[in-house]
C-alpha cells in the first residue's frame, strides 16, 4: 500500500498547492459570505439566501475544483513525464490511476470542509438573526460576526501564509488553503452552538451538493488519461450536464425553505447512485491507463 499512499499524498499536496485551487476556494467563500448579505438588504430573506448561496457555491465551485484539479494533476503527470518515472517503480498502472483519483478526492474533501464550514456559519447567523431580530440594526448585530468570520476565513489565511512564507519558507498557497479550511471549520462548529439544531438542517443538503463533485472528479481523471486537457474538460462538462437531472438533490434543498430538512434516506439514496457512477468512471480510467503508451 505504501507506494499508493505516497502517490495519493503527493496528488493531494499538488492540488491543494495550486493557485487555481486557492482562487476557487476564495471565490466560493466570497459567494457564500457576500451573496446573502447583499440580498438580505433588498429582499429580507437572509436564511434562504444564505442557504442558496452555500449550496450554489458548493455545487458550482466544487465542480470546477474537482474537474480542474483532476485534469491538471493527471495531465501534468503525463505531459511532464513524472508518470513515466513513477511507472518505472513497483507501481501498477491501475493502482497509479486509482491513487491519483484518491488524491484528488482527498483535496476536494478539504475544499468541501471549508465551504461547508462557512455555509453553516452564514446559515446559522441568518437563522438566528431572523428569529430574534425585528429591526435591521439588531439583525446586523447577530449576522455581523458571521460575516466577519467569513471574511476572516478569506483574508487572514492570506496574511498569515504570506508571513509564514516570508519568514519560514512555508508554501504560500498550501498554507493559505489549510488555514482557510481550519478557520472555516472552527467557525462552522461554533455556529452549531450558536444556532443549535437549526444550522444542522443545511448539512444533508450540502452533502448532496458535494456528491456530484466526486463523480465529476472520477470522470475528469479518467478522461484526462486518454484525452488532452481541453477535451477532458469538455467531456467532463458533458458528464455534468448528464448528471444534472440526477442532481435534483439540489432542488430537494427546497425542503429547507419550508423549515424542514432533506431526509437522511434521500441523502443515502443519492450516494448510492453516485457510487456506481464513480466506480464506472474509475474503471474507464483504469482501462485507459492500462492501454496508454
Amino acid at each position: 500500500m505504501r507506494p499508493y499512499v505516497s502517490i495519493t499524498q503527493a496528488t493531494a499536496l499538488e492540488v491543494l498547492s495550486s493557485p487555481l485551487s486557492l482562487l476557487v476556494l476564495l471565490a466560493a467563500l466570497a459567494m457564500e459570505v457576500f451573496a446573502p448579505v447583499f440580498h438580505y438588504h433588498q429582499f429580507g430573506d437572509a436564511t434562504r439566501m444564505a442557504r442558496d448561496a452555500a449550496i450554489s457555491a458548493l455545487f458550482t465551485c466544487g465542480a470546477v475544483f474537482a474537474v480542474f484539479g483532476a485534469i491538471r494533476s493527471v495531465r501534468r503527470e503525463i505531459e511532464t513525464g513524472t508518470m513515466e518515472m513513477a511507472l518505472a517503480h513497483p507501481v501498477s498502472r491501475s493502482g497509479f490511476f486509482l491513487a491519483k483519483a484518491a488524491g484528488v478526492a482527498v483535496a476536494f474533501t478539504v475544499f468541501a470542509v471549508a465551504v461547508i464550514g462557512i455555509a453553516l456559519t452564514m446559515f446559522a447567523g441568518a437563522a438566528v438573526g431572523g428569529a430574534i431580530a425585528e429591526e435591521t440594526a439588531q439583525l446586523a448585530r447577530v449576522y455581523g460576526p458571521c460575516v466577519a468570520a467569513g471574511v476572516a476565513a478569506m483574508v487572514l489565511p492570506l496574511v498569515l501564509a504570506a508571513a509564514l512564507n516570508r519568514f519560514f519558507r512555508f508554501r504560500f498557497t498550501l498554507t493559505a488553503f489549510l488555514l482557510a479550511t481550519a478557520i472555516a471549520a472552527v467557525a462552522g462548529v461554533s455556529s452549531m452552538f450558536l444556532a443549535g439544531g437549526d444550522a444542522m438542517r443545511l448539512v444533508p443538503a450540502a452533502v448532496l451538493a458535494v456528491a456530484p463533485a466526486y463523480v465529476l472528479a472520477a470522470a475528469a481523471a479518467a478522461f484526462a488519461v486518454r484525452f488532452r486537457a481541453n477535451a477532458a474538460a469538455a467531456l467532463s462538462g458533458v458528464a455534468l450536464v448528464l448528471m444534472l437531472p440526477a442532481a435534483d438533490n439540489y432542488y430537494r434543498a427546497e425542503a429547507l425553505a419550508r423549515g424542514g430538512t432533506v431526509p437522511p434516506a434521500y441523502v443515502a439514496l443519492a450516494f448510492a447512485a453516485a457510487v456506481p457512477a464513480v466506480v464506472g468512471f474509475l474503471l474507464i480510467g483504469i482501462h485507459f491507463s492500462r492501454n496508454r503508451e
Binding site: 513524472t82 518515472m85 511507472l87 513497483p90
Partner: protein, 253 residues
C-alpha cells in the same frame, strides 16, 4: 533458477501507429540484446536510432509490437521485476512543488520503503549528491544540474539491482559529469548492473564494459569496449556514418 541475463530482448520490434492505427514510425526493428549481471552496458546511437524506445520497452512503459522483452526473467510490466530497478530518464522528470527531500522521499515511498527507512535513505542520498543544504527547497527552483542530481538520487533510493540511465550526464557541467561517471563505476564495482545510453562517446568509453550501437532501430555493432582496437568514437563513426562537414563560410561573412 534466476536468469543470468538481467535484461534480454529477443527479436524485438516497435512500430508506432497514428490514431487510425496506420504505422507511422518503425523505431526498433528486430533487436536482440542481453545485459549480463554486474556489467555496465552502453546503448549508443545517433538521435532517432531507437535507444529511448528500447529503454522504455525494457521499463515496461511501451509494449513491443513483436518479440519478447524480459527483465529479471519476468515481464517488464510485472511489479516484482520493477522492484529491482532504478531509472534515470533523459530529462529530470520531477514534481516542481516538492522539495528535494520530499522528492527522494516520494520515490522511496514508491519503492515501498517504510517512513523511517525512507527518511534515513533520503538523508544519505542528499549527502551523496551534495544537496543537503538545499534539501528543503522546491525542485522547481533548481538548476538543470541540481535537478539531475535529485533525479539520480531518486533512481538509487530503492537500492536497485539494475540501474537504467538515459543520458546520465545530460545537462551536467564537467565536474558533475566526472562525479557521475565515478559514481557509476563505483556502483558497478559494488555489483550493480548498469544499462546506459549516451551521445557522449568519451563518457561511454570511460564507464561501459560492453556497448551496442544502434542505427535506424537496428543493431549495427556489439562488443566489449576493451576489444575494439580503436577509439569508440572512430568505431562509432565507422559503423554509423561520417560526420557532415558543414560549410560555415556563408554564415561567418
Amino acid at each position: 533458477m534466476e536468469a543470468e541475463n538481467v535484461v534480454s530482448l529477443d527479436n524485438v520490434s516497435k512500430t508506432f501507429r497514428d490514431f487510425w492505427l496506420r504505422p507511422t514510425v518503425s523505431a526498433v526493428d528486430g533487436l536482440s540484446l542481453a545485459v549480463r549481471r554486474g556489467e555496465v552496458f552502453g546503448l549508443l546511437g545517433p538521435n532517432g536510432s531507437g535507444k529511448s524506445t528500447t529503454i522504455k520497452m525494457i521499463l515496461g512503459l511501451l509494449s513491443p509490437s513483436a518479440g519478447e522483452v524480459k527483465l529479471f526473467g519476468l515481464s517488464p510490466r510485472s511489479v516484482a521485476a520493477r522492484r529491482r530497478l532504478g531509472y534515470l530518464p533523459e530529462l529530470s522528470f520531477l514534481h516542481p512543488f516538492l522539495t528535494a527531500a520530499e522528492t527522494i522521499g516520494y520515490y522511496a515511498g514508491l519503492c515501498g520503503l517504510s517512513r523511517r527507512e525512507a527518511s534515513r535513505r533520503t538523508r544519505e542520498l542528499l549527502a551523496m549528491v551534495g544537496l543537503e543544504s538545499v534539501a528543503k527547497r522546491p525542485v522547481g527552483e533548481f538548476s538543470k544540474g541540481m535537478a539531475r542530481r535529485v533525479a539520480l538520487a531518486s533512481a538509487l533510493v530503492g537500492r536497485p539491482e539494475l540501474l537504467v540511465l538515459d543520458e546520465p550526464t545530460s545537462g551536467l557541467d564537467p565536474i558533475s559529469t566526472k562525479e557521475v561517471k565515478t559514481l557509476v563505476k563505483a556502483l558497478a564495482q559494488g555489483g550493480m548492473t548498469v544499462l546506459t545510453t549516451s551521445h557522449l562517446l568519451a563518457d561511454a568509453e570511460d564507464i561501459c564494459d560492453r556497448v551496442m550501437i544502434l542505427n535506424h532501430g537496428k543493431s549495427v555493432a556489439e562488443g566489449e569496449v576493451s576489444s575494439l582496437g580503436t577509439s569508440l568514437e572512430e568505431f562509432f563513426l565507422a559503423k554509423v556514418g561520417s560526420v557532415q562537414d558543414f560549410a560555415l563560410a556563408p554564415f561567418l561573412r
